[in-house]
Symmetry: C2
Subunit: 310 residues, 2 copies
């Protein structure tokens, strides 16, 4: 049983109530708690030593990354983050100075994004450091964007460049909060999520939720410099295109809009976010699965994204 | 540096924003997100194998306890829980069937309390199982109860009986949600919290937040049957009164009301909650610290409650 099978099994009969607008299965849970013009976004995300960072990672960057990942999930719903709680599990011999530095990195990113850190706890673990962030945010009613709205004929977009995040970006990335809110305000975005497990794996979540397929134009997928560099390093390296499809932790936005809006969107984007690349990488089609179109034709993609567990 | 010193250091300069009504340091964070008649409660709580349960604890009870602890924090604010996210960190060899059972126990308690489980994640750890619960709740505006409102002359109350929780209660307790809401609706409760680290340690939080002291009447402290039984087991056992003061995980309510309301409260409580004991155990006094009054006089209490970290 892999992570997705386990999650599928666990989420079949979760308790619900009338406050739940969207439960498990999207980037954030969405709740209606009676704010007149807004819905509440609710998300937790954990980083674990040995998976998301190493013992050698500077503690400020560990703290920053822990919060940045959760912020990226709020971005994926076109939301605005409000308040975070921080749970840190540490080995007994861990230095309090380093705990302070974890918080320093986290607090700095929180301030930058207007997020209040309203508490949390520090607990013991045997070996690996684990940091779990619980995050609350809001989104204007009628402006939340789910994974399930992709329609046949939609253009598929990604922000930034993909692959090779492990070289540096996974510790440095800026959650696409402003970009996502601008998109939701100015265009009818049909479906959106953030890329955490790799394009190939994550796009499948949109396709499954929307019951559609996708055709990706190989030459249109933006490949990061880091992925290209690594591909040149020798025969053991992943080809750059494969890295762009399957490396995790890009934390870029993946979204779809009606085909008719695609060019208008690209034109409006450039002056708004001159430093952030936006690429139309393909289209939503009928059927299921992902097809990659290159010079030789259209090929079904078998590769999956990164699977966390087991 | 112990847990409280570390927390004090970490919470001195946390980022805040205008949504924050109460930040770190009370049972829950309190946020104003614009719900006309309500404030939002936000809390995380983690249980860790070897501290809060053992590898032999039935998985249903582990899941139940993880949620029950967080519910108790919502109770401590006189709130109503709404939605939970569940983070489970597991060793690689952990059986998926047991993960399902953790969720079964948790879901059952969630349903009983009208709480929606809206997602979460399962991640890897090396050794100890860790479950972190993020919980959202609400409290009517003007009815939240903090730790900081105790006044000189207040009567100090506890629900239930204290000590010996480790024998069984820590896996079985019912969070005092209904009791706390009833209290807040019917009496001007000055200060309240839930007992998780033992009366002696937890009462100090109310005293410090309210800048007052307390005198506890030794004979009035309700001692659990389990603590009395254990005290009889031999010379290595903790005396029953010490257990009632310092054992952790009672998850009872500790609160104060004006002295003039004390008898009225005791009279009104009995028909409302016939199965839950309510005890007036002392009074709030000027100064600082805890004094225990017995037949021989009044003695300052040095013992602290349970400290989690380091």
């Amino acid at each position: 049983m892999n992570e997705f099978e386990l999650i599928a099994r666990l989420t079949t009969s979760l308790p619900s109530n009338k406050a739940v607008v969207v439960g498990a299965g999207d980037d954030c849970a969405v709740l209606d708690l009676g704010v007149p013009d807004k819905l509440i976004l609710f998300k937790t995300d954990a980083v674990v030593e040995g998976i998301h960072f190493s013992r050698e990672t500077p503690p400020e960057k560990i703290g920053r990354k822990a919060l940045a990942r959760a912020l990226s999930d709020i971005a994926a719903m076109a939301g605005t983050p409000t308040a975070a709680l921080v749970t840190v599990a540490l080995p007994e011999n861990f230095d309090p100075e380093s705990v302070s530095k974890i918080y320093d990195g986290l607090n700095l990113l929180a301030k930058k994004n207007g997020v209040a850190v309203v508490g949390g706890e520090t607990t013991k673990t045997n070996d690996r450091i684990l940091i779990s962030i619980a995050l609350l945010g809001t989104v204007p009613r009628g402006r939340k964007i789910l994974r399930s709205g992709a329609k046949i004929g939609d253009a598929i977009f990604v922000t930034g460049e993909l692959g090779g995040s492990l070289a540096e970006k996974h510790l440095e990335f800026e959650p696409r909060l402003a970009e996502a809110r601008w998109l939701a305000e100015h265009f009818p975005i049909h479906a959106m999520m953030d890329l955490s497990d790799g394009l190939a794996g994550d796009l499948r979540h949109i396709l499954a939720a929307s019951q559609v397929g996708a055709e990706i134009l190989k030459s249109a997928v933006p490949i990061s410099h880091a992925a290209k560099l690594r591909a040149k390093e020798g025969s053991a390296a992943k080809p750059a295109f494969a890295a762009a499809l399957t490396d995790g932790e890009d934390f870029e936005l993946l979204f779809t809009v009606a085909g008719k809006d695609a060019v208008k969107l690209l034109d409006a984007w450039k002056p708004q976010f001159p430093k952030v690349k936006l690429s139309c990488i393909g289209k939503i089609v009928s059927g299921e699965g992902i097809f990659i179109r290159d010079k030789t034709g259209s090929h079904q993609l078998k590769a999956h994204g990164y699977v966390h567990f087991p």
